[in-house]
């Protein structure tokens, strides 16, 4: 006797269909529980949400209600996860696009790409390098360093021109 037996009373057919659906949903929930990230099976969740229980299904109503409650409990969490992932992707995609543009199109170095993404131009790196170049890093005042460098540079140039280059 199948559940769509025309001789079966309507309420009994509904009961049988609901029982099969309940078993199916329970199976989906079990699979979902066993997954490492506890993701809810989308198909099972959609089916559970779309399900409308007939009021006549008293014997099985408890099982289905329990299943629905189980899914209802998970719904906010999954909805939160979805929103979180959307925000994450919305944030990551432009960053990844900028990084790819700078690295591949502009052929910039990784440090510059990082600086752009962090909005922190490598001023300190350049300044530190300027200092280390000009005076071996001993002097901290760059203006004073440049005064010395300038004087030496002009002296050297003057001597070279006097010597006929």
């Amino acid at each position: 006797m199948s559940h769509d037996d025309p001789f079966l009373p309507a309420s009994a057919a509904e009961q049988l269909a609901a029982a099969k659906l309940a078993e199916s949903l329970q199976g989906s929930a079990g699979i979902a529980e066993n997954t490492s990230n506890r993701e809810v099976d989308d198909a099972g969740l959609s089916a559970a949400l779309l399900l409308r229980l007939p009021t006549s299904l008293e014997p099985r109503a408890g099982v289905l209600d329990g299943l629905l409650l189980q899914f209802d409990d998970r719904l906010p969490r999954q909805a939160t996860q979805r929103v979180w992932w959307k925000w994450l992707m919305a944030g990551l995609l432009p960053v990844a696009a900028i990084a790819m543009y700078l690295l591949l199109v502009r052929n910039e170095s990784a440090s510059v790409v990082a600086s752009v993404l962090l909005r922190r131009p490598p001023t300190r790196i350049v300044e530190a390098q300027q200092l280390s170049l000009a005076d071996g890093g001993k002097q901290r005042d760059y203006a004073a360093t440049m005064t010395t460098y300038r004087r030496d540079y002009l002296d050297d140039l003057s001597q070279r021109y006097r010597a006929g280059r």
Partner: protein, 160 residues
């Protein structure tokens, strides 16, 4: 055809004359360089006395001073870029970013070499762009300065 030959001869003769002129005027270069050194020393002294306006005038006059014909273009560029850098720094210190940008642009418009002077101007203009909220341009200038410094550093390490 004959006209073209005349033009070619004229160009060659002009080039040769310019070369001779450069050689002859080489003696003018050293005094001019000494004068530039004195100008910078005067500007340093005025800045130490907090006379920023006078220091700016002295440096502007040196920017406008004509260079002797015998000096190499690259040397004139380095010297003028150093003056432009100092004037841009004064603009930055006086909270006049427009003036600072103008001097940085003027200096860099002379060309770019692998010198401390060019790197200074690029770094200063990069900081200006950063202040004006243009990070892409800022990074481009700062990166260009960084590349020059890397070359200078490598050169210094090769020939200490």
């Amino acid at each position: 055809m004959i006209r073209i030959v005349y033009i070619v001869i004229l160009v060659i003769v002009s080039g040769a004359t310019a070369g001779c002129k450069r050689h002859i005027n080489a003696d003018d270069v050293a005094p001019w360089l000494d004068q530039m050194k004195s100008t910078h020393a005067a500007a340093d002294r005025l800045l130490a006395e907090n006379d920023i306006g006078q220091a700016r005038d002295v440096l502007t006059a040196s920017w406008n001073a004509e260079a002797p014909a015998g000096i190499a273009v690259a040397d004139v560029r380095a010297i003028r870029q150093d003056v432009a850098y100092r004037l841009a720094e004064l603009g930055l210190a006086a909270n006049h970013p427009d003036a600072a940008m103008m001097w940085a642009d003027r200096g860099l418009a002379l060309g770019q070499d692998d010198t401390v002077m060019t790197a200074n101007l690029l770094m200063l203009r990069g900081r200006l762009f950063e202040r004006l909220g243009q990070p892409q341009k800022a990074v481009a200038d700062l990166h260009a300065a960084l590349l020059i410094n890397e070359k200078l550093l490598a050169r210094t390490l090769e020939n200490p």
